[in-house]
């Protein structure tokens, strides 16, 4: 038997797997951008590929942190592989109320490692309107103590949730970081 060859094969499989995850996360966002542009012109939800069970509901940009993401409907494993996912119970991003969005710490939400209070997110809604959200605080939550996060809907906030710490290797840890941002006032509207 050739252990060396077996090891090479295992290495190829594992690195391939990691590459596949990263590539899926990156390429999907490009397809989703296309769907988003169609949503902006048609006003109706657009599936990024025809068998998709999700569609973009918002765009979130951060100029300082250099990120530009398309948020997908639904925060389950199915959508998170392709983009940050919006909890459909919560307010639509950019609209009245608090919206909650989850993303993977090692793909789309990697940039949150650098986030700090005062940072701004620009959020585009399906009707094309942009809203600005300013980060007020970041919290670390232990899932074993509070397995559910839900928003107080009478505030105009956006909560981004990702796994924590960012440099952990194995998935499935108990900690989550929640980045809380509040809508900034524009033309009297907050």
């Amino acid at each position: 038997m050739n252990v060396r060859l077996a090891m090479v094969a295992v290495a190829v499989l594992l690195l391939g797997d990691a590459g596949y995850i990263e590539a899926k996360a990156m390429l999907a966002q490009q397809l989703i951008e296309h769907a988003w542009n169609k949503t902006l012109t048609s006003g109706a939800p657009q599936r990024p590929w025809h068998w998709a069970d999700t569609w973009p509901v918002a765009r979130i940009r951060s100029t300082r942190l250099g990120s530009d993401l398309f948020v997908l409907a639904g925060a389950d494993g199915g959508s998170l592989a392709f983009g940050p996912g919006h909890f459909s119970h919560t307010a639509v991003p950019g609209r009245e109320g608090t919206s909650v969005i989850a993303g993977h710490r090692d793909t789309h939400f990697r940039f949150l490692a650098e986030v700090a209070p005062g940072d701004e997110f620009q959020v585009q809604r399906t009707d094309g309107v942009w809203r600005v959200y300013r980060v007020t605080e970041t919290l670390i939550v232990n899932v074993e103590e509070s397995p559910v996060w839900a928003a107080v809907p009478d505030r105009n906030e956006m909560h981004l949730i990702t796994c924590y710490p960012f440099d952990a290797v194995a998935p499935g840890g108990p900690l989550r970081m929640v980045v809380i941002s509040r809508r900034a006032c524009q033309e009297r509207a907050c």
Partner: protein, 674 residues
């Protein structure tokens, strides 16, 4: 490192040393270490693979376990004791608020009750003092409570938010102590098929307000962290007849016979309040209930409760019909609910459609879409299109219910077809009144049947919408119930309802009775009529047209004692009727004065009246601060609100992949020969 690697891979050098068999054989040992490393790595890789598969399985369905360990906070525990006599259920609903903090606390807790609950009593206990509440006009009750809170007196306030959703506020709970609030309410058991049933909601599904989640009722509830609210439940069944079966739909119960009654307890001391508790009991077939007329005599006059149970009619010629299936695919239906809805629809399409019928399917969340522009005849191809449409439904988005309902009601009519609308939803809406009005205004001669889905459907909406829609309501709380419940609905649709139901009051002056307009009666489901007049003297007689046959039955008057609760139930029904009339007239608050008068006379909690209790002495001194704690309820089972899994296995794969590569490169070559 380099040198060691050199020694390892130089076979010539090795051979010059002492013969291998005489030594400990370090090279082979080192090879063995590498082999072990390789095996370990393969194990690691397998773990990654398992993770990948698990991710595939668990995606979309998140579970959570409850938090462990005591947290310094206000806790609430619920203890429910139901006592059923005939059809009337009296419930003692006890909430124990325990303050585990070092400071004074005020607790505000929102909880659901059955949608017909007539809450008529509240009392709280602090230490060994008992304080009984009284009904006041809502604003006045709030003022009384707030004043007591400020002055440092223990106080409790019970308010109705919606007909099936209440708020309990408790002020000045001393540090480390408990305040126990006892509520009493009356309810009526349901009889359907051959079973009696009683539904006790233990949590509620967050509701959707059209136009997006506005503050509304949710505003004061921090749903931020999970809780593990638990309830213990005991039921006493004084059925008066021999029972052959006592079961609970979603919980394990143990019935014990105690003389003429049955005591039913949970198999465990308590249960998580994450889904409705439903108790069912079935009398032996010879003891199926018959029509009864109970009369309670009080100083305010006589109150009657007439139960009419027409016999099942013969199967008659089936009239062709148009079936419109409307299904809710909003975000609150996520998880098990949408699967139940799909299964229920597929079953209904299979069982309710005949060859002369036409049908259509409408799905809605924030937007709605129709399977067909206009209803289509039942053919092989339309059926398969419907199955495909239904199988592809998934849940997300808001609950904009008015537009699809309107679309269903506005579909062009085929004159010779009876229109039936089957509405599948969890009813997680906050604009019920608007929807009832829409149904009332646009229904014409169609009928609307509601099918309630999920662990905690809004049963007030289900019952009322069906009432306005002249149909019936069905609940499905578990995927295993889909077939039996949908077939029950199909049977109801197949049999004719009792038409032209008439009550002849004989020697009595016709009393004021509710429901005022007698509804359509379905086989095996009784009508319950609550009446009030100064004096009810004699028996009554009931008649109806059942298919081709005329049915007529005298019902004898039976006097019951003054604690039967019939008077309270009558008042509750009258308030509900006044609320409905307000909705019809377009001014919800039109009968505010009448409702307040009635609620005060019968000591009932309503939209305009609350129960409030205040202790006479001051327990919290002016210098001591008080904190307000909003106690969240449990998230209904099957809903996805849990913290997400937000890390991929990519970093682990990279690490293990690089290790595998390192092993492959650094491993000594194995000798060709053995």
């Amino acid at each position: 490192m380099g040198r060691r690697a050199g020694t390892l891979i130089s076979p010539g050098f090795r051979k010059q040393r002492i013969p291998r068999d005489l030594l400990l054989d370090p090279p082979r040992r080192k090879r063995r270490v590498w082999l072990w490393l390789a095996v370990l790595l393969v194990c690691g890789a397998l773990l990654v693979a398992v993770e990948a598969v698990a991710e595939e399985i668990s995606s979309g369905e998140l579970s959570f376990k409850s938090s462990a360990g005591p947290v310094a906070a206000v806790h609430v525990r619920t203890e429910v004791t139901v006592s059923v006599t005939g059809m009337v259920a009296k419930t003692e609903y006890v909430q124990v608020f325990r303050n585990d903090t070092d400071g004074w606390q005020e607790a505000i807790y929102r909880f659901p009750l059955p949608d017909r609950a007539a809450v008529h009593f509240m009392q709280f206990r602090i230490g060994d003092r008992l304080i009984t509440g009284e009904v006041q006009e809502r604003r006045q009750a709030k003022k009384t409570y707030e004043a007591a809170r400020k002055e440092g007196r223990a106080a409790a306030l019970t308010e109705q938010q919606r007909p099936n959703l209440f708020t309990q506020s408790v002020a000045n709970i001393p540090p480390g102590e408990e305040i126990t609030v006892t509520l009493r309410y009356l309810d009526v058991a349901r009889f359907e098929g051959r079973y009696f049933s009683l539904r006790l909601p233990l949590t509620y599904t967050p509701r959707y307000s059209p136009g997006g989640m506005r503050g509304d009722w949710l505003s004061s509830i921090p749903f931020r962290t999970v809780t593990d609210r638990r309830a213990s439940i005991t039921a006493m069944l004084n059925a008066g007849v021999e029972l052959v079966e006592i079961t609970s739909d979603y919980h394990q119960v143990i019935p014990v016979r105690e003389g003429a009654r049955y005591r039913v307890q949970l198999a465990r001391p308590d249960v998580a309040m994450d889904r409705d508790f439903v108790l069912r009991w079935r009398p032996v077939s010879s003891d199926v209930p018959t029509s009864t007329f109970l009369v309670e005599r009080t100083s305010q006059g006589d109150y009657g409760m007439l139960m009419v149970l027409p016999p099942a009619a013969e199967q008659v010629m089936r009239l062709p019909r148009e079936m419109i299936f409307v299904v809710d695919t909003s975000g609150s239906m996520k998880g098990t609910s949408i699967r139940q809805a799909r299964a229920a629809l597929l079953r209904a399409i299979e069982t309710t459609l005949g060859p002369q019928d036409q049908f259509n399917v409408i799905e809605f969340d924030t937007y709605h879409s129709m399977l067909f522009q206009v209803s289509q005849p039942v053919t092989h191809s339309t059926l398969s299109a419907a199955r495909k449409f239904v199988s592809g439904l998934h849940a997300s988005g808001g609950t904009e219910m008015a537009a699809p309902l309107e679309a269903a009601l506005d579909l062009p009519r085929v004159p010779e077809l009876m229109r039936h609308i089957i509405f599948v939803t969890d009813g997680a809406v906050a604009n019920e009144a608007e929807l009832f009005r829409l149904i009332h205004d646009k229904l014409d001669d169609a009928s609307l049947y509601t099918v309630g889905i999920g662990s905690a459907p809004n049963s007030y909406f289900m019952r009322k919408a069906a009432e306005f829609g002249r149909g019936t309501f069905t609940f499905i709380g578990d995927t295993s119930e889909v077939v039996s419940r949908m077939d029950g609905l199909a049977r109801k649709l197949a049999r004719p309802a009792a038409r032209d139901l008439r009550i002849d009051w004989l020697g009595n002056t016709p009393p004021e009775s509710f429901p005022g307009r007698l509804p359509a009666l379905y086989a095996g489901e009784p009508l319950i009529l609550l009446s009030h007049s100064d004096f009810i003297a004699s028996d009554v007689s009931v008649s109806a047209q059942l298919g081709d046959a005329f049915w007529n039955e005298p019902v004898g008057l039976q006097e019951v004692d003054s604690k039967s609760g019939i008077g309270t139930l009558w008042a509750r029904e009258k308030i509900a009727a006044l609320e409905d009339e307000g909705v019809h007239s377009g001014d919800r608050d039109r009968f505010r004065k009448e409702i307040i008068e009635l609620a005060l006379a019968h000591q009932l909690v309503s939209r305009f009246t609350s129960l409030v209790a205040v202790e006479s002495w001051v327990s919290r001194q002016p210098g001591q601060a008080i904190e307000r704690a909003h106690l969240p309820g449990n998230i209904p089972r099957g809903q996805v609100v849990a913290m997400p899994q937000t890390a991929t296995r990519a970093p682990l794969s990279i690490l293990l992949g690089l290790l595998a590569l390192a092993i492959a490169l650094l491993m000594p070559p194995f000798p060709r020969h053995q």
